[in-house]
Symmetry: C2
């Protein structure tokens, strides 16, 4: 699945601590689909410009959704006589540089796609070991701000050489280009085949697991995989180098409202890039409200950059926790059942091991946009979690008195 999507990411793969961003990818494959249907949006550059306009005009950019990226299938079927990648002239008649200029003029950043291999996954020219330097320089000359580097049509050895080599080539251009690596997903996502120490040094983010599909079954499969493997994966994430559980499918076709909230909550706990895959021109108000939830984004973008963990599993309920800056926490309780019945969950801050602040904590419901009150560690409280849904709490030490003012309203 490669339609529209938005990434959150650190601005520079070589930084240790940096400001995070959110990114919108645009897929040229979707464009091909549209073309086949003889729709109005026959050129990809038209579609990407339209998305850039939406991002700038509809409040996305100010929330941090600033990368807008072209996915697979944007090139001609052959390189040019100088061995350079060229955009399909039917769909990008003005070229990528002009598109980057337009995207920059809207206060956004442009991402592009290539593949470490003989062909891209969609069958277009790939980046082979001998064209890495050329392609990095091409992308830099177009003033591209991000590269998603896929891994179809190459073997393990080529990947092991190519991914670090592209990192060096991007750095050598002198341009800050966010580097997203699909490498570990092609190697099963786990050590010893995957070396996360090396990845953290060369990539800003990486896909660990298979492609997300537009279904709750797929979202749940991914969530469970990250829970099972969290002892390996959780320590690898941090500012400038993130695990990427793949796109958000909120606003697409396959998730209910409850399921959309559940994906967003777990992605926020996982400190995951928030990559939208919807069409911003036609997104429902319901989906827009979820994706523009300020408190959710605040949690996702927390400056400590510590990935959260599943701390408890009780029947079909999974309890996730993320430590945030200033002694704050986020908790997400997800109901993985589909029997149609909301599940009760009774707990306390003590049971959730949130006990450090002696004067207690203020609790907020992230999706209901409610302040729930002041709680100490012994106070029990009851949550009701809908089937394939979530309840997400933001927990703030009562001593952080000016916090709301400094950050504006979480529920704005």
């Amino acid at each position: 699945m490669q339609p529209w999507f938005v990434y959150r990411k650190c601005s520079n793969r070589s930084c240790d601590m940096c400001i995070y961003f959110l990114v919108l990818f645009a897929s040229v494959c979707l464009q091909v689909q549209i073309k086949r249907e003889k729709a109005l949006d026959i050129t990809s550059e038209h579609l990407i410009k339209a998305m850039a306009d939406q991002m700038a005009n509809e409040g996305w950019r100010e929330l941090g959704y600033v990368y807008l990226s072209i996915d697979d299938c944007w090139t001609k079927k052959q390189r040019d006589p100088n061995g350079r990648l060229e955009p399909d002239p039917d769909r990008f008649p003005s070229g990528i540089k002009a598109l980057a200029d337009y995207v920059h003029s809207r206060g956004l950043k442009l991402g592009i796609y290539s593949d470490m291999g003989n062909y891209t996954c969609g069958g277009y020219p790939g980046t082979t070991l001998d064209t890495i330097k050329t392609d990095a320089e091409t992308f830099s000359s177009w003033e591209v701000d991000m590269l998603k580097f896929d891994g179809c049509y190459s073997n393990d050895t080529e990947k092991a050489i190519g991914y670090p080599k592209m990192s060096s080539a991007l750095n050598a251009t002198g341009r800050q280009i966010l580097y997203s690596c699909s490498w570990p997903a092609y190697e099963g996502g786990l050590p010893p085949k995957v070396n996360y120490t090396q990845l953290g040094n060369i990539c800003n983010m990486w896909r660990n697991y298979g492609d997300i599909q537009d279904s709750w079954a797929s979202v749940l499969d991914i969530i469970k995989w990250y829970a099972v493997n969290q002892d390996v994966l959780q320590p690898t994430a941090g500012p400038g180098h993130w695990n990427d559980p793949d796109m958000l499918i909120t606003g697409d076709f396959g998730l209910s409202y409850e399921q959309s909230k559940a994906q967003l909550a777990i992605w926020a706990i996982l400190a995951a890039p928030l990559i939208m895959s919807n069409d911003l021109r036609t997104i429902s108000q319901e989906a827009k409200d979820l994706l523009q939830n300020r408190l959710l984004i605040y949690i996702n973008q927390d400056s400590l950059g510590i990935q959260g963990r599943q701390i408890m599993k009780v029947d079909c309920l999974g309890v996730w926790k993320r430590e945030l800056v200033n002694g704050q926490y986020a908790i997400a309780v997800i109901n993985m059942g589909d029997d149609g019945l909301p599940r009760p969950f009774t707990t306390s801050l003590g049971l959730l091991n949130v006990t450090q602040c002696p004067v207690g904590y203020k609790l907020y419901d992230v999706f209901d946009r409610n302040y729930l009150g002041l709680f100490n560690s012994e106070t029990t409280f009851n949550l009701k979690i809908n089937p394939s849904g979530v309840v997400m709490l933001f927990i703030q030490p009562a001593s952080v008195v000016n916090h709301m003012k400094r950050h504006g309203s979480y529920f704005g």
Copy 2:
């Protein structure tokens, strides 16, 4: 899953041709859940009365949703000294007769639940072979209008005796009681273990397959099972005796908007009972609009009562067709894929084998509520089907000129 739901059914199991109804079931198990959470709706009769009020006041009754039924767990844990079932006095303090009176006063009908076996599925007293007559008489004395007869805690032999015996016992009461049999679902749903000729003579409707869960995966599994086995199942349905693929989960938690439309479309094609399972007090406007779609209900309730069939499968697209009265047809094209991309489907009335009317056909989009124009058998047209979604067409001979007037607006 046993929360709220609505059945469409023939009013009398012994009729050959009758007016159809839609039915709302209410689950007492859900009530127990609510009680455990100390919610306001602590008594089941309160909850059922609230639903009856919704059905009468919010346009459901006029559309045909008239049965409101209590599901499992409504009785005391023991029969009374006379061997009769008694309602739990905490949840039904006024008794079932008073509840039936209330439901009838709202222009609705009351359904109840029992189980052919030693216990109900929820562990309450079942209806054994020696208590069938007593229970039928009890239900009749309470002026109940429908019985769902489940099949937990009995063997094949007991079921083979008990289901026909209950049919006779209900008939012997002289009261018209709609009889819904879970029997075939306990026997795998297929001949030779299931005798559909016999079922058609004794039951108004029957569950063929496993319980639906609140997920698209479950809906899709059911749709595929009915497609694979349609040569057996399709001929068994007709006025007064219907296949029941289980409840609609539109308005619950697990389906996206697209998936909700897809379930409704296939259930309409299958001439299936429309059984809601949502809480009518909190249902979203979006779900309400789908469930109150007049043209969809018109198709579902077509007076010929011929179950439709999957007539084509092309990759992940399934094309379903149902023959309706007056030479009309319904077509549903469902996209079973989850790759995130809408699928094009180009067809014509000729390719769909809708060719009998020489002056052509008027086409309507059921969910978009659009008149698409006049088509002859050669005109090709293009549909775009969203992932896990559907496009549903209503096809009317151009010669049926007064049809719209006689039935009012389909899109009202």
